[in-house]
């Protein structure tokens, strides 16, 4: 009996001790973080005072970042568009390699969710695969277009119709044309695949074609990969997806006789393209050093190469 009680008490004590330790170490961490933040804030303020003008501060900051890659430390949190997953991951990886002291985390929650996180202050950069809405800009978000993405119209690999006009595309998505034989193909029903309401790709696709709220989807899938997979495995299916998601399991259709290639998108002859935005709260120059460095990196030749390597088109 006594032994049992002793055990109980010991266990209780262990649990209590565990709880206390847990709290203790957390508190210590928080304090340390807070101290670090204070220190950097102080340093920044000092620098600003010394330099006296904003421009000078910017220069100083720039010089600091270029001179001391290794010294730059901190973290960048980004969240947003699933369409930008490839780009964000590539940037995060390459940037962390260049600046080992900076940790970049990227989450893919969707364009609106990313901007919401930015407004809520939980991330530094909100990734959006559409232009920012007026209400988002009013909340202080600044639209920094880092790349341009083309939207490809994808067809199942057995389809003989590989060139569509804009009108035909509109008719297909409105449900006015329902069989490929009406477009010169084989007698195969058209399975219209699209993305869910709110998706950046869907928003861009419908807006670019003037199809807002008029599409008759047979499938509304919630990711780019799902669209590609469904189209690849379903005879007669048509869908849309980011250009960089196009692989050889499907055909990317020509539109008005124009192939969905980078040159054509840059030249403006391909009709389906959209901006990739890395939004910040306030101008880039008002961001933390690591975030500024990230944008500088994206503008550098190295960054541009990276953007191209993930199938996107650079801005300038």
């Amino acid at each position: 009996m006594k032994k049992n009680k002793l055990m109980t008490v010991l266990m209780a004590a262990t649990v209590a001790a565990g709880l206390l330790t847990g709290c203790g170490s957390n508190a210590a961490d928080t304090t340390a973080d807070a101290a670090a933040t204070d220190a950097s804030a102080d340093a920044a303020t000092d620098e600003a005072t010394d330099a006296a003008t904003d421009a000078a501060t910017d220069e100083a900051a720039d010089a600091a970042t270029t001179d001391t890659n290794a010294d730059l430390s901190g973290s960048i949190a980004m969240a947003g568009s699933t369409s930008m997953e490839k780009l964000a991951n590539a940037v995060a990886e390459a940037f962390m390699e260049k600046y080992p002291g900076v940790s970049v985390t990227a989450e893919f929650t969707g364009s609106s969710a990313g901007i919401e996180s930015l407004e809520g202050g939980s991330v530094d950069i909100g990734n959006s695969s559409r232009s920012l809405k007026d209400e988002e800009k009013a909340a202080g978000c600044v639209e920094n277009i880092v790349a341009i993405d083309g939207i490809a119209v994808v067809l199942d690999p057995a389809n003989t119709v590989t060139d569509l006009t804009q009108d035909q595309l509109v008719q297909i998505y409105k449900g006015e044309v329902t069989n490929w034989k009406d477009l010169g193909g084989s007698d195969e029903p058209i399975v219209v695949v699209g993305r869910e309401a709110g998706s950046g790709t869907r928003g861009a696709f419908e807006e670019l074609l003037g199809l807002e709220d008029a599409c008759q989807y047979a499938n509304e899938l919630d990711s780019t990969g799902a669209v590609i997979a469904k189209v690849a495995s379903t005879p007669g299916a048509i869908g849309y997806a980011s250009l960089d998601a196009v692989d050889d399991t499907i055909i990317a259709a020509k539109l008005n006789g124009v192939e969905p290639t980078e040159e054509n998108i840059k030249a403006g002859s391909y009709i389906l393209s959209r901006p990739f935005v890395m939004a910040t709260m306030g101008e880039v120059s008002a961001q933390s050093e690591p975030v500024q460095a990230l944008f500088d990196y994206l503008k550098s030749d190295e960054g541009k190469q990276l953007i191209q390597s993930v199938g996107l088109i650079t801005v300038d």
């Binding site: 969707g110 219209v192 309401a197 709110g198 998706s199 499938n219 509304e220 899938l221 919630d222 007669g236």
Partner: protein, 306 residues
Amino acid sequence: MHTSIFANHKNKSIVEIIAHIIFVVCALVAVMAVFAITAYMIINGSPALFKVGIKEILFNTKWAPAAAEPHFGILYVILTSIIGTFAAILLGVPVALLTAVFLAEVAPKKLADIVRPAVTLLAGIPSVIYGLLGILILNPLMYKLEKAVFAGSSTHQYTGGSNMLSAILVLAIMILPTVINISESALHAVPDHLRSASLALGASKIETIFKVVIPAAKSGIISAIVLGVGRAIGEAMAITLVSGSSVNAPLPFNSVRFLTTAIVSEMGYASGLHRQVLFTIGLVLFVFIMIINLVLTGILKEKEED
């Protein structure tokens, strides 16, 4: 020798009190979670109900949340969940019940030893695997069936096999382990003297099973079915992959959206009122699950009173 580590009565009672507090706190975690979730669902789910109008949400069939003039009618979504779940139960329960009877009453031990682990394994397979198999195997078959059924139809919108029927089949398979395991326990719990009495009166084994054992295990089997309903109505991952996920009337060859998949598929990109309405859908689902749980509690109570 006195070996207690407590020097006196006072220390001992302090330790007792601390231990008591820790136990109470642990017990409260679950209760708090339930209350927090309930409060959160009501706080987040109800504003849209009043902004859009209860009638407009619950009894309208048009779902166009991102349109310039948005519509948030989820009647088809609610009906899909109810009919889909009901159909899955209709398909799955007979199979599950007969499997349970087989395991509990009929099967030779060696065979039961093969079937039982298979059922357990079925319960352990992640739902996304069901969904993937649905895409790879079920959807192409369904598309062939769809083309055959609607050959020559000019009004039918072809779904490529992602339809209500596929979702129902996947759900029916997914509820099997739940219903089998609980029904089997219920059948095992039927006292042997009932079987002996029935057999002694000249009833055959099959007669005994259907006229004596199953009626005696009725309340256990009903709770198995209710739990199966719970599993089916709450499932999202598997059916989001096979159902096509467009909001349509819940007909067998239509691409449909369930309450769960409505939340899952649009939460990522939704903003503003659209997002709030998704929480409202969550609230509706929550209410359904609560009702199912209350029914289950009622059945279990009745069983105790018996």
